[in-house]
Symmetry: D3
Subunit: 124 residues, 6 copies
């Protein structure tokens, strides 16, 4: 019988964070102290490593949520993550357009503007 130790959840999470977010994620998490540790262990070590949905599907859900919640700093991170796990800019735009019937235009407009920023940075 084996147990995942704290160490392995952290390591597992760090590897998953790199897979999902690339370097951007690590830069966001590093200065956060214990909170950053929980992002890595719980969000990435526990939740993102689960089976049952692909990373592509997890990022569709996440981009939609962060758009409607208006969490713009994290939306920027996860638009990069979505590109990183294989969504096209057009599919991310489509995900943001899908939020309109459920949360209206203002949060979607902010989302599209962040998407345009990210795409022009990536191509710039």
């Amino acid at each position: 019988m084996t147990h995942k130790t704290e160490l392995s959840r952290f390591e597992l999470g760090l590897a998953k964070l790199a897979e999902v977010d690339g370097k951007v994620g690590e830069e966001v998490v590093a200065p956060l102290g214990d909170l950053g540790k929980y992002v890595i262990e719980f969000a990435f070590g526990d939740i993102y490593q689960r089976e049952g949905l692909s990373l592509r599907e997890r990022e569709i859900a996440t981009v939609a949520m962060l758009t409607v919640l208006g969490r713009e700093t994290q939306l920027r991170v996860h638009i990069n993550a979505a590109l990183n796990v294989g969504l096209s800019a057009e599919e991310i735009e489509e995900t943001i357009i899908q939020t309109v019937p459920y949360a209206g235009f203002p949060t979607a407009i902010n989302g599209i503007n962040i998407l345009k920023d990210v795409v022009s940075e990536v191509h710039g």
Copy 2:
């Protein structure tokens, strides 16, 4: 050159609503008057009929959004819709678990309880 007319957006939307939500959607929309007309024309005739994401992906985004927004009546409708377009109960559970890092446990707990209700109704 052809134009989609108002009539065709409504008809297109009605067909898409049936495809996505089955009968439940029509029952929700029918008594809403002009608001129901816009749900059909705009949400289903304009947005849901777009290409670029599958219905399965649109429902993953929608279940995640409605969970974190705490819109429980509509979440119930869209959990049925998600089952209807081919997501398994396990994948819907997974989508709700994916919301925890972004919006915490309370809305996810409410989401899981609604999912359990819907599943037991479907099987009951």
Copy 3:
């Protein structure tokens, strides 16, 4: 030079509450203890008695806000209040429809359903 005293803010608020909400307001506020006192003194004695917008305009703003915030118990109270200060059911419906571009369909659908309930109670 005159000062409004605490007593007069409470009395002023109580009169304004009756003008705006009729009996429903008093029933909601009475069991709330100190919180109810602040509703009367601050919300009605300070804010609602201000000039610059008509009661009709204040209720348009309030119905819109409570709809998008999803505060259903208070929305019910203020749909009654809106009818009470002279808005028609059609104008209240129109106010709720105006929320859709800003906050999406789910909160508007809940709002319309509460409006229908209130109207059928009033006419029942």
Copy 4:
């Protein structure tokens, strides 16, 4: 029998957008692609062109909603719109003060600060 075509909803919406927001609206919508098309067709071509409330009343509702939702970029646009359709700065201030009992001071403080910015730009 006549149908409004897609084209006419867009044209109707564009004219209504200019009536409500002046140039600011067009600048916000132009770079948004399909999302901007829906803002024009649905928000302005369908919703804002409805009868039943005056533009003045629609902007009172909209300023109140955007204040409590904390959507600051769009609040700035709609404070300009409110001035444009005939509300005075004092009436907009009054609308923002009306939000306090329903959503507290922080969003109202942000709203008043944006109003002050807009007024000083207009007069600057």
Copy 5:
């Protein structure tokens, strides 16, 4: 050098859940499957067992948050928890009143009504 294992986080969390919420917590968490496991391991095994704030202070923060977020099912659980860790009904009322300047009356009114329910159940 020692590691907390997964097992010990779960056990630690279960003991903390009992300390905070009494039986009510366990009843809420038990039917939730993997989500319930994360409530126990992460919310109670990781967060609630931290030093730096007393349980009393954590429940003051939690009652305030759940009130303003409008999460009524969980607020009911945590009003019980707050009583359980030593807050008086008057202190919980005071915590809810403290939310008014930050989120307005509607969520506070809902909070006070839940508090009154819980107190009458406890004394009933």
Copy 6:
């Protein structure tokens, strides 16, 4: 029999504002006109001067609320207030970490980053 007059609520509130927020509060409130008067009279003259919770406990509740509501300007003010009434930076960090189970990581990350800013300003 004595009445608190409007004047005394304002004076009481102004003294309490200085006790809680130091100079920062006054700078925020001064340019707000009537809204600023209500912040002083109602938030500080009525609510903050109540007994039943210590200022330390009121700021724990307030930091938690403003974090989960994402009201960043006011969170900055109240992190200063929390330091001012005797909370340590570590206790404020702990309060922000306590929000994660209830509202997720994005608002907590924003909160921690504001805390780090405030602490480096205070020490800078």
